[in-house]
Symmetry: C2
Subunit: 198 residues, 2 copies
């Protein structure tokens, strides 16, 4: 028994990846065949096999995806920048969406905010940095949260003190005082900071 051509398999996978990269959508069988110098039926059989083997996913017209790809990208909303303070995380404020790889940042729903002020500099969040926020209304103690204090959304570290019936919101800046509130609305948990170096 002759073994199937591993080189052709690799070539197909590479072609599929690069085509998707270039065009933003999958190639057709014919295009793959032309691309790798083979024929449509051969490509078809290979792709079917690779689909069974889990090397790539194939499900109909122009719909092949390499398993190595990271097609699952989380949708991230970017609210319009506001002059001071952080905007409320509301769907209608979203001006733009981008996608971020789940493998790096996990599953959404996410929002991307620009940090203002320097109340969190010791946590590595400087003025102007992007902060990736997972939208959720609860948080584990010690996490950096987007908390609504009065009408303003702020970034603070979250320390509930149930024994004192209050919540401590801790700015990561030794020159600033902790804030104590009876309750506050959590709008999300900071997941990552994007710091521009250019």
């Amino acid at each position: 028994m002759r073994s199937k051509d591993k080189t052709l398999m690799a070539a197909i996978e590479r072609f599929v990846c690069e085509y998707a990269d270039r065009h933003g959508y999958s190639p057709s069988m014919q295009e793959i065949a032309d691309g790798v110098g083979s024929s449509k039926p051969t490509v078809y059989r290979y792709i079917s096999q690779m689909n069974r083997d889990g090397i790539l996913e194939y499900s109909g017209v122009r719909n092949v995806h390499s398993a190595k790809d990271n097609p699952s990208a989380a949708r991230v909303g970017i609210p319009g920048r506001v002059a001071c303070g952080l905007p409320k995380l509301a769907e209608e404020n979203i001006e733009e969406y981008v996608k971020l790889p789940v493998s790096l940042f996990g599953e959404g729903p996410f929002y991307l905010l620009t940090a203002s002020g320097n109340s969190m500099i010791e946590a590595g969040i400087d003025d102007g940095d992007w902060v990736l926020v997972r939208q959720q209304d609860t948080a584990e103690p010690g996490k950096v949260v987007v908390a609504l204090i009065g009408d303003e959304a702020t970034l603070k570290r979250y320390y509930p003190e149930p024994e004192n019936h209050r919540i401590r919101l801790h700015p990561e800046n030794s020159t600033m005082e902790d804030i104590y509130v009876d309750s506050c609305e959590i709008q999300g948990v900071a997941v990552s900071v994007f710091k521009d170096l250019t």
Copy 2:
């Protein structure tokens, strides 16, 4: 003359976006029609019109993209983590690719490295942070570069001193000394830092 239904236009655009979001590829005319409660020919005419108007791009089977989308994502290579120092930026070391939105980080080619050590903490780069590097072999003075010193790739701020026929590589850590070399190979320029907060 009756004006075309703006609501249907908006519905089609929304459907196209959400479908692409969900499935990772474009819907067919029929699917759009079903989705927005219209018919295939009507959807076809609307999409043709919207294509002419630049509201979305349409180019054949299962290939509609909202202009508001950000289909252009830069391909980013992630070399396997190495124990100490940074790996050489070579294609064969890439174990994984992800995509990052061009609107946030610009055009590639990019590599994503994990920072090790604390020679750049004053630039906001801490041990374990991800560093997004644009691959290029030159850099403007003052930029944070991936420089090959001997056999090891390191992150340093780049200050060429042509008058002294040397290059100063500056660690952003006041406890560390500047490094002077006659020449060094630049492998890329740091574009952004991803700091995990979780």
